[in-house]
Amino acid sequence: MSSIWIPPRRVLLEALVLVLVAASMGLSLNHTMVMKAFTGESVAPLPNISVQGAEQQFPVPVDYEELDELLAAGQLLVDARDPQIYATAHLPGAISLPLGEADQLMTEFSAKYPYETPMIIYCNGFGCPDSFDLAVRLIAEGYIKVQVYEGGFPEWRDRGRQLEAGAP
């Protein structure tokens, strides 16, 4: 009797077939996404509507690589996270506009920053929807140059970049 922990060869083979079948199912259903990723096209999380005239429905995503250039050009950086988290650490020069308090703060915000102000919103990285939601909220308010930095705070920090602390 072979050990109870050693899989028989048939089981190993069937496991291999299982993986191959599942992988090809996944590939055939998602081939557009994978092709785009490998050819370097943008795989936007939502339909990436191009800017037509002054109308923009969805924010444009920004990569880490593009960020420095945009910030050097003076784009406003907006932190969508809670003010307490913002106070512990945020990207240098970022202002705080928490999604949860956006409605109350919007009048003050729009008085300070005109609708043409180019801005980049970030929150807690991939999987954090707040930056996107805040961007949509700002666009609805009338802002026309809103972008989202999807890597957000975690990517910036993990690349060893400088951080700033302090309450809003």
Binding site: W5, V11, H31, P129
Partner: protein, 146 residues
Amino acid sequence: MKQGLYHLCRLLLAGVFIYAGFLKGSDPVAFAGQVAAYQLLPYAFNYLVAAMLPFVELLCGILLLLNRRVRPALLVLFGLNSVFVLALFSVVLRGLDIDCGCFHPPGSEVTGTSPQMALLRDAGLMLAIFMAWFLRQQQAEEPLDG
């Protein structure tokens, strides 16, 4: 008793992996973002994993639910789970603060699981996989009665 325990493990794993596979499979782009957060793979490969992994989880879950090809499915889940554990360990060692991308529906309000919690949960899943395997192997050699 043994058979009850076997079915419990089998159904638990089936439920967990069908749920996880379905969540990730329904929004592969968001899942790719979660894979990217681990910073283990080159850019495009995150999407490749996101395209395939949910279907492997789903298929294994379905086979366990149907009680067919249980050992191959368990073997694949063992492999997957080992990779998850290694990836989570590397996250803890590098001190990354990310959502594990395990069950958290992308874009929901629910806070994700920390890598430490995910490791604990993976240990539980590993135990269920081993128990189901052991009991199924016994069955294969001498069918249990009742």
